[in-house]
Amino acid sequence: MSAGPDTEVKQTLDRLFRREAGRLVATLTRKLGAHNLTLAEDTAQEALLSASRSWPFDGIPDNPSAWLHTVAYRKAIDLLRHQKVAENAMPALETATAHTPDSLAGITDAELRLVFLCCHTAIPEQDRLALTLHIAFGFSAREIARLFYTGPAAMSARLTRAKDQIKARCLSFDMPTAGELTPRLSSVQKVVYLAFSLGYSPGHGSKAVRSDIAFEALRLAENLTQIPETSGGTASALAALLSFQASRLASRTDTADKFVPFQHQDRKRWDEGLIARGFNHLRRASAAREVSRYHLEAGIASLHALAPSAEAADWQQILKYYQALSDMTASPVVALNHAVAISMAGDNAGAITKLEALSEQKALVGNIYFHTARAEILHRLGRSDDARVAFNKARFSGGSDPDMRYLDLRLSSFD
């Protein structure tokens, strides 16, 4: 018996549960009002639970989304009726949402609308990003925690706090007004960027890459460039960056689903169509006056796309981009990548000095990529013992199963 159809069904369910969890909460919240966010979340959870109880015995319904929405809505209405609130509140709410002028009318993509709805400017940015990833993309607290260099418990608490704020201040998940659209745009771009990185490098679990998430994020990024209200140089730069990155998704794992580091990727497996799309977006991005971090990152990615091998890339130009990016973001992760670029450009001693200076950074303590990069560079410097210790540190930092297998392989070369 082949594993094919099984895996397909599992992927369908994966996508469905993750995506629908967010959508259910968003639609219910819109219908029931923001003060009912908890009710919306509870009933969405219950609908998924109902699905999980009945689908194993009945199979997946023809229209699973509609099934979930009907069940969730019915449960919510039942609960509200039970609270004797429905008769009064419901018709008023339905009319209110039906007559709100729609500033997102130009945005026909349901997913993108949801991201805009969730990116509420009234709550602090980090909370806003985390909440949107949770509600609109259905990422768990554990997955989001990694992006913000914190633990799952702290992230759960932050998500709860953000929801409480929305409830306490009676913020609504209604359509943003035309004036609200622009301030939300930069958060929307960040959310798309972060969602892509969770697909590109999930960080835990059995897969080295979750392509469906990455491609969903790319689709949203490209949609942003299509809509007059959201398009512009930064939107194009983001779409360029994600296109270039997405072109390499297939080559990040080998046929045995083992992680393949960048230098050893089979460049023939890079998707030429996506690279071409990347350059198209990049051309439009460069025509704009502004320069965003996405411009610089897309610039770096484009130089890799042009090079026949990792070694042959224009490392001097890449270093210039990294310097500009470091100045712009002051991010330790950018500094980490900068150090790797310095090593690739031939200066391993300079790279290790830079890395050692970063070792106390909160984002990099226990960070698998930091320790792996440090180990590889120590290895190149011929400091085998130090390299082995560093590989061990990487091995005991959290990562996906394929990451772990890769590190085991590297460690075994020291035996």
Partner: protein
Amino acid sequence: MAQFMMLLHDKLDGFSALSHDEMMSVIKEYTAWTEKMIAEGRFLGGEKLKDEPGRNLLAGTDGIETHAGPFTETNEMIGGYMSIEAADYDEAVKIAKTCPHAKYGRIELREIDPIK
């Protein structure tokens, strides 16, 4: 083709230690299996039973008595059933072995007696 009933015995609290994500992945396994059986035209149907004690009706001295439980095995209960089509017991066993429940619980496989 003969018809077989798979009685799915659950260990009580067998799944209670699982996180939400782990639970979801178990459910995906079951659904994937059912979808595969449906695609192969073998799946005849099934129902999940509620995770709570049922009623046992027993003939006592004063007529029929109703008891909540007890179960024949105190540490497990029937969580649901599924029926499938197979040529014979050999094939039915082979198929039932691929069902995720074989890993997570106990399957009692019985041939349905078609009364003609």
